[in-house]
Amino acid sequence: MRFARTLRLTVPKSSRAPGEANEDALAHVIRRRYAVFATADGASQTIFAATWAKFLVAALCAVDFERIRAAADEQIAWDAFLRGPVQQAAEQFRRHLPPHLPWYVELSLERGVAATLLVVIVLRRERLLVALAIGDCCLAVWSESNGHVHRFPYEAVDSLPRRPWAVVFRLDRADADVPTPCILRCPFALDRDMPAGQSSGRLFLALMTDALAEWFLRAYAAGERPHEELARLRRRTFARWVSRQRAAGQLRDDDTTLLLARVSWDKVGP
């Protein structure tokens, strides 16, 4: 039995023309010993941002387990860990570009293609959750046993940056710019009031791009239970839910992406 299950939901902003790329990307990989969940949000003012976001999440989900374990064992720092797959994504992105670019595409690419990034790594045996965030994609983590919701990297809507950091590819530079990520490193039992030594349970993760994160944090601050609302969403209802929230002025009209994951660790011993 898989120790994690996911639901991936995304709706483009309403003003996006048919066939135009949704600039949010999400990916995940679940293996016996670990799982990786990733979301990226391409900056719409930069060219090929959707493609860059897709390459980023794909490269993060393709990371070798030994490298993950080395980072978990603190043999390499998490920010150094992140640079590997990002550079791999940059190489793939560069190869993907047509050989002859018009001057404006070349100049745009020299100025940079940007995407915010959130990656969550769950190590099953080690019972460790690590989240790395660059920019304003947000993570909410909660367990089924209590109501506390851990928010990362921003806990309140006022903290969301107007100009978030981003991972940037530049055509005229060999390496992509990788700002220092915010790092969350914690054991599975995040809940403050979970009895010590409890060895079973389920964690819920919600990876959200910025518009949804803003909605989530505002609702949470208002004393609502937005995590429960997210957990009830299904593929067939998501678009309708997004439309309703937008119409009510609760959700900004932007690409809206949610990766919901449920991680169980009740079958595995320490």
């Binding site: 135009e20 001057w103 100049l107």
Partner: protein, 281 residues
């Protein structure tokens, strides 16, 4: 509310530059370039930036129509006549694909090791600098009126178009005031056309920018003429002007006018005038 329309492919806006290329624009500025050269560079940079802003995965999106009228000698002419299309205002995607030439320029950039290095960059040129003959300003305004009159008919719901006129002198073919007022009367559902007038100099330290009254100007006929020819700035542009010139007091009701502006201020003034380039979605 005016000046609120979204600028999109379905609802593009237009920016028309009127550039004086009379003999006096050949005056050499302290940095060794002529006024004509500096202004041509500024307009080329603004068009180039607009192209970059419209460059998306699926190509260059036509959020903007752009035209350039230059005037000198006895006539006003379309400076973008090398770009395909019969109209003087061209969709930005056509400009993207048809610069007059691509120059290679050198730019100093930080090298990441505490120093700076020279880097070659591509610089697209649409408008070539020139300076000769007289100042047929009325010709230019007449052509602008004809061009913009047709454009607003075709785009009734668009963000109002903008005309930016740059000169260092006085008209030699009559009084353009009436034509300028007619131009300002052109409108879309979202508001009247915005007419900017920029009077440039390269031998002054600071000019008079965005005055609200004639009292702020010297008692000089040409200074007053251009003031009367300039639109009152809407709130949106007043805010942009205040952001671009934080040390200046720009009051509500200010005119879209710069008098005796040195080059740095002139370029910043052009940034304000081309604000719609930042509003495309």
């Amino acid at each position: 509310m005016s000046y609120q329309a979204e600028i999109s492919r379905r609802n593009p806006t237009a920016i028309l530059f009127l550039i004086d290329q009379s003999a006096s624009m050949g005056r050499v500025c302290p940095d060794g370039l002529t006024l004509a050269h500096v202004l041509a560079d500024a307009v080329n940079r603004l068009i180039g930036e607009a192209v970059l802003k419209c460059s998306k995965d699926d190509g260059v999106r036509d959020y903007f129509f752009v035209g350039v009228i230059t005037y000198s000698g006895q006539e006003a002419s379309d400076a973008l006549s090398h770009v395909p299309g019969d109209d003087l205002l061209k969709p930005i995607s056509l400009l993207a694909d048809h610069p007059l030439r691509l120059e290679e320029r050198t730019k100093l950039v930080v090298d990441g090791a505490g120093g700076v290095i020279e880097r070659k960059i591509k610089f697209p040129v649409w408008v070539a600098p020139a300076a000769a003959g007289e100042t047929p300003m009325c010709h230019a305004f007449r052509l602008a009126y004809q061009t913009m009159g047709l454009w607003v008919l075709d785009h009734p719901t668009s963000f109002p178009p903008t005309v930016i006129h740059v000169t260092d002198g006085e008209p030699t073919d009559g009084d353009p005031r009436e034509l300028a007022l007619m131009l300002q009367q052109l409108a879309t559902d979202d508001g009247n056309l915005l007419l900017y007038n920029l009077h440039v100099r390269c031998d002054v330290e600071a000019g008079i920018l965005f005055p609200a009254t004639l009292d702020e100007l010297p008692d000089h006929q040409s200074a007053q003429l251009l003031f009367e020819m300039s639109s009152r700035l809407p709130e949106l542009i007043v805010q942009a002007a205040r952001a671009e010139f934080p040390d200046r007091t720009i009051v509500d009701g200010a005119r879209a006018y710069g008098y005796n502006a040195p080059l740095v201020e002139a370029i910043k003034f052009l940034n304000v005038g081309t604000l719609p380039f930042n509003l495309g979605r």
